[in-house]
């Protein structure tokens, strides 16, 4: 059993496609979709049709989950759209290196040091709280080969 799990872990997504197809009409708001080849969160979704007896078309407004850029698309509801595999996992922050890399620990104890401190307010808070000796959880967003810390959460004693 153990080696099967290991294999699974190793090949988790290297061989697999970054997206899978889904019929446009089955998408939902707050779900994910690829728009202009970028993984997006659907923030608006509406249907319309051309002419009274026409077929449904889906109008999607999405926000790039990494860059925050807004994209729009309209497509016949019968078409398949690519939906990105999106993973959001929480890691325990164990250290911040001098060159701005985070040392993160997964639930199973695995360590990784390949992600940078996020920029802006979140990064600043992360450093401040870490310096204050607080227990910090980082949410790592992973999709389409990109990976980044998108949220930090200070754990209080009560949470555990």
């Amino acid at each position: 059993m153990a080696d099967i799990e290991d294999t699974h872990f190793e090949t988790g997504d290297s061989g697999a496609s970054a997206t899978f197809p889904m019929q446009c009409s089955a998408l939902r708001k707050n779900g994910f979709v690829m728009l202009k080849s970028r993984p997006c969160k659907i923030v608006e979704m509406s249907t319309s049709k051309t002419g009274k007896h026409g077929h449904a078309k889906v109008h999607l407004v999405g926000i790039d989950i990494f860059t925050g850029k807004k994209y729009e698309d309209i497509c016949p509801s019968t078409h398949n759209m690519d939906v990105p595999h999106v993973k959001r996992e929480d890691y325990q922050l164990t250290d911040i290196s001098d060159d701005g890399y985070l040392c993160l620990m997964a639930d199973n104890g695995d360590l990784r040091e390949d992600l940078k401190v996020p920029e802006g307010e979140v990064g600043a808070q992360l450093r401040a709280e870490y310096d204050a000796g607080k227990d910090i959880l980082c949410t790592v967003l992973k999709s389409c080969g990109e990976e980044v810390v998108i949220a930090v959460k200070t754990n209080t004693a009560l949470d555990k």
Partner: protein
């Protein structure tokens, strides 16, 4: 006013100024006013009739002079005249000389038809100013009165009028050569949230339906002939399309055909059935009578009717026996044939040529028809038609056939039109609405069609249907089961429907490696799908079934806190979990026993707690994170508000109060305490969240002021801070009103229970000064003043000493001694002779005093 020269003069003046836009409008308004002349001047019924005769003569003269050449706004004015005449003189019409009355009916029929045509033209040209549409609506309103006055319906003129109006309306909506519909070549983009025809033209269609029912021997044959003709054409089209590619002109012809079919079905649906919101849907008496007459004259018989019904799948229209088929059933059979045609087109991969709009209209018609005609309850009718009862009554093969057909059509829609969200929504609505009626669902649960549908949908892959379809289906399944009175049958039924969903959930969660694979898309889709099913189950819950359904849902609910923790990073799932609790609180809680309610409270509180824990102290880089929190919190607040309804409305078996250890308000407040820290100022800027929040706290305060008074310090402070914010932050008058209500309730509670020297007493105190300042400085708008004064009164009762100090300091702060003196007088008048005991009488007196006080003080404080 009643001088015989007046009316002729007015009409003559109008005719003279008719071509001058600036005058004609005012003159026409005058005529409209005269058409509603009423009151003391009409002292006897003779006077009324005399006046009406005179008005009518002049009016008819005017109409004949106008002919069909209405000036631009004239149609509207004329239609208003007719509407007013009908409204104010309706009862006097029968006393008119026969000839005059007849020519009046003749003329207004003529102009109604004329306006109908004008209206159609306006619709086709997409004009913004819809004068003819409005004029036509006015005329129809007048006709409703005329038809109702003539309920016996033997007046030949009324029959003729109904026929003419029906014909004209139909013609306006059919393409040439049968009709005069104007083709709109502009292909426009139509948003799905726009109203469709059956909503947009609901009022019109209802009255046209009434016209059709007045003359069923005219309207029904026209309708079935048209339907059969158009269906034949559609069939021919489809046959050609199978062998040839479609040209542009084919496509235009097809669109035209669809539009015809769409309108014929809409009109047929309104002729055959009446709107039955909130009432038991019935077969209209005119149709029933007509069917009986036809049967008695041996023009129709049951055998032929059944044969036609049974043959709908063949989609053949030229049958020998079809003329002996009951006319209402014949229209219905034609619609079923269209359904069959649509399904068979989809099966041979021509579904993309069919119109989803027509599909929706078909679903709408089936719903309406089934509600009224399928399995009618015989003893609701004085007389029943042997053909209708024989074909569709209880224990007939016809009824079973129709149920299976309709359920089969739903299946085809789900399989072949899964990409049409609106059509599928109408499909599941049809289902849920039919099974709502117990007389029908008793039969539906026994049919093969239902179990086929259950099986079909269970085989569909998670995530292959548009949102809401799965929940709509489960709502229907669950509702259908409520017809089973026998507990054992009911248990078996729900076992078959619900056990599989429950097992799906358990199997999913019990997978050994669930912790590792939970993020895989297939698993997430499965989770979403299962939650959708449970939301549907909760939505379909009724008094008789809540208990048994809860047995299936409760084990799932108890897993949800853990589950939410796992899926905290996936908003779609988080929101579905929150929504599921909301739906349980909304549709089940009021029927649940004390014990079950407690189980629901526990699971839901644990879930809210997990939600709060996961989101407290969290900072995200995502630009949509605020919007996300807003959506989530709105769901939580809605849920906490819905929970409270248990304390207002409780149908659970009676128990003594001592058994209730935990009330809904405790749950709401406890839940609120978790999420209060998450409700940030910027989130309150979302109006829906803001109003939901204040609605909740006012509701708790109304029901259980004592619970608010006994809150822990932290939470009380936070709550009161939000009330202060609500009063000052400019969220709008509704919110100010809510905050005033909240304070008034709490202050009254403090006073009545003598809570001096408590924390809440201290905490509420600053609001007296705040409110005085806000009212004096105009920051509370004048329409809120009454509520504000009542609130201030309650506060003064609690804090009379502090009030005196406040008054003194206000007076002393005035620089001008004159102003100070006037202010002092005003204050002393305010509370003069007002008892400070929080009772109704003095409160009202204070309110009146306060009005005067504010008017007075605002006067001189502002002048300064």
């Amino acid at each position: 006013m009643l001088a015989p020269q007046l009316l002729p003069l007015m009409f003559q003046v109008y005719w003279k100024v008719r071509n001058q836009d600036s005058l004609s409008h005012h003159m026409l308004t005058c005529l409209v006013q005269l058409a509603s002349l009423n009151g003391g001047v009409m002292n006897s019924s003779e006077t009324r009739v005399q006046y009406l005769v005179s008005y009518m003569e002049n009016f008819l003269k005017l109409l004949s002079m106008i002919g069909t050449n209405f000036k631009n706004k004239e149609a509207l004015g004329i239609s208003n005249v007719v509407r007013k005449l009908q409204l104010f003189f309706g009862h006097s019409f029968s006393k008119l000389p026969q000839a005059l009355h007849e020519s009046y009916l003749n003329e207004i029929t003529r102009i109604t038809c004329c306006f109908a045509e004008g209206a159609e033209l306006e619709e086709a040209q997409l004009l913004d100013d819809k004068l003819y549409v409005e004029a036509f609506d006015n005329m129809l309103e007048a006709w409703t009165n005329i038809f109702q006055e003539n309920a016996s319906g033997n007046d030949t003129f009324v029959l003729q009028a109904a026929t003419r109006i029906f014909n004209t309306y139909l013609k306006c909506h059919l393409a040439p050569p049968d009709g005069s519909r104007i083709r709109n070549d502009e292909v426009e983009e139509i948003e799905d949230n726009e109203d469709n025809d059956r909503i947009k033209f609901k009022d019109q269609l209802q009255i046209i339906g009434m016209c059709g029912r007045i003359v069923p021997s005219h309207s029904l044959p026209i309708l079935y002939r048209l339907l059969e003709d158009r269906s034949n054409k559609l069939k021919a089209h489809l046959q050609t399309m199978q062998s040839q590619t479609m040209t542009l002109s084919d496509s235009a012809a097809l669109d035209n055909l669809f539009e015809d079919i769409h309108w014929i079905i809409l009109i047929a649906g309104h002729v055959l059935c009446m709107d039955s919101e909130g009432e038991m849907p019935m077969i209209p008496s005119e149709i029933m009578q007509y069917s009986i007459e036809k049967y008695n004259k041996s023009e129709t018989n049951l055998d032929a009717t059944l044969k036609v019904l049974a043959g709908v799948r063949q989609v053949v229209f030229e049958l020998d026996f079809v003329d002996q088929c009951d006319h209402a059933v014949r229209v219905f059979s034609d619609v079923l044939k269209l359904c069959a045609l649509e399904s068979s087109a989809a099966e041979v991969k021509l579904g993309h040529f069919m119109s989803p709009e027509v599909g929706c209209t078909l679903m709408w018609f089936l719903k309406r028809w089934c509600l009224s005609y399928l399995l009618p309850t015989e003893n609701y009718y004085q007389e029943v038609s042997p053909t209708l009862i024989g074909a569709l009554g209880r224990d007939t093969d016809g009824a079973t056939f129709v149920i299976n057909f309709v359920l089969g059509k739903m299946q085809t829609n789900i399989i072949h039109f899964s990409s049409e969200p609106v059509l599928l929504q109408d499909t599941v609505d049809l289902f849920a609405d039919i099974v709502c009626v117990k007389q029908k669902s008793t039969y539906i649960v026994k049919t093969e069609g239902l179990w086929n549908l259950v099986k079909l949908q269970s085989e569909l892959k998670a995530g292959s249907l548009p949102q809401n379809v799965r929940r709509g289906l489960y709502k229907g399944f669950v509702l259908a089961g409520s017809a089973l009175n026998d507990p054992q049958a009911s248990n078996e039924y729900y076992q078959q429907i619900l056990k599989p969903v429950q097992s799906r959930f358990k199997n999913l969660l019990c997978q050994e490696n669930f912790n590792r694979i939970y993020q895989e898309e297939g698993i997430k889709n499965e989770v979403i799908d299962i939650l959708e099913c449970f939301i549907g189950i909760a939505k379909g819950s009724q008094m008789s079934t809540a208990q048994i359904l809860f047995e299936y849902i409760a084990p799932i609910l108890s897993e949800l806190p853990v589950f939410l923790n796992i899926y905290k990073n996936y908003q779609v799932i988080v929101q579905l979990v929150l929504e599921l609790f909301g739906r349980c609180a909304q549709h089940m809680l009021c029927y649940l026993s004390v014990l079950d309610s407690k189980r629901l409270y526990e699971s839901s509180l644990a879930t809210v707690q997990v939600y709060a824990k996961c989101n407290a102290n969290r900072l995200s880089t995502e630009i949509f994170s605020e919007e996300s929190s807003f959506q989530d919190l709105l769901l939580v607040l809605e849920f906490l508000t819905l929970i409270l309804s248990k304390d207002c409305l409780d149908f659970s078996p009676q128990v003594s109060n001592s058994e209730i250890t935990i009330t809904a308000a405790d749950v709401s407040l406890f839940g609120l305490s978790f999420i209060l820290p998450l409700i940030k100022m910027e989130l309150l800027m979302y109006p829906s969240l803001c109003s939901q929040y204040y609605k909740l706290i006012v509701l708790i305060d109304d029901l259980y002021a004592d619970k608010i008074a006994n809150l822990p310090d932290d939470m009380l402070t936070q709550l009161l801070r939000s009330v202060e914010l609500g009063l000052t932050a400019g969220f709008g008058s509704d919110i100010v009103q809510a905050c005033l209500d909240f304070l008034q309730g709490l202050a009254t509670h403090i006073y009545r229970n003598s809570l001096q020297n408590t924390k809440v007493y201290q905490a509420v105190m600053p609001f007296l000064k705040l409110l005085m300042n806000l009212t004096l400085s105009h920051e509370i708008s004048s329409e809120m003043m009454t509520s504000a004064s009542i609130c201030i009164y309650a506060l003064i009762c609690c804090y009379s000493e502090q009030y005196q100090i406040l008054v003194q300091s206000l007076i002393q702060s005035q620089n001008d001694p004159l102003v100070a003196e006037r202010l002092a007088t005003a204050f002393s008048q305010l509370t003069n002779n007002v008892l400070l005991n929080c009772e109704r009488q003095p409160k009202l007196k204070f309110r009146d005093n306060f009005d005067k006080f504010i008017a007075n003080v605002h006067g001189f404080l502002l002048v300064k």
